[in-house]
């Protein structure tokens, strides 16, 4: 419940922060601007996954077992899918909406149960951002 509230607040805040395309851009330039915003959203999801992977969660002493909050396997899913989507965006910026939405869906499907619990709320928030563009 607390997580849902946080994600809702996150989505609300970033949606409100979303800038409008500069008026100096042509329609073609505006599409590039939208693709750039979409790329930034994917880049943020990737950055978050890497940050979660860097944080270690340790068992209660005397145990010395520590593990990343987001496992290497799950982080690899995010980084691989985002990297692939970014390379597609490079080639086909006009398809930013389909490319980014597909990437978010793929990440959600490929994560294991633990990863789903940790990352899915942020994927939903990212989708909300994309919908606001």
């Amino acid at each position: 419940m607390k997580k849902s509230i946080l994600v809702f607040v996150f989505a609300f805040v970033v949606s409100g922060c979303a800038a409008h395309a500069p008026g100096s851009l042509s329609p073609a330039g505006t599409k590039i601007w939208q693709a750039d915003q979409a790329a930034a959203t994917l880049g943020t999801v990737q950055h978050l996954a890497i940050a979660l992977n860097m944080v270690q969660r340790c068992a209660t002493p005397p145990s010395t077992n520590c593990a990343p909050v987001l496992s290497d396997a799950n982080t690899r899913v995010v980084v691989t899918v985002v990297g692939s989507a970014l390379r597609t965006l490079q080639q086909v910026p006009d398809g930013w909406k389909v490319t980014t939405s597909t990437a978010l869906t793929q990440i959600g499907m490929q994560l294991d149960a633990a990863g789903k619990g940790q990352v899915t709320p942020y994927l939903q928030a990212a989708q909300t951002i994309l919908n606001s563009l």
């Binding site: 800038a19 851009l25 073609a28 590039i32 750039d36 969660r57």
Partner: protein, 62 residues
């Protein structure tokens, strides 16, 4: 503990997104041209790809 962790992660995510947004605002606040926008788009994409590639290089698949 879990709530505190989520709150911390939320702050990290928000901070990262705000930084990216600030970069965008800095670039788009002026009268940016289509050519400049395209150059920024390419640079941004390369930056995100580089971050992912760096992580993959440091964490080879077992």
């Amino acid at each position: 503990m879990y709530a505190a962790l989520i709150t911390q992660l939320f702050a990290v995510f928000l901070e990262a997104y705000r930084k990216i947004q600030a970069d965008h605002q800095a670039a788009t606040g002026a009268q940016i041209t289509d050519e400049e926008m395209l150059a920024k788009f390419k640079a941004d994409i390369n930056k995100y790809i580089a971050e992912g590639d760096a992580w993959l290089a440091a964490h080879p698949k077992p």
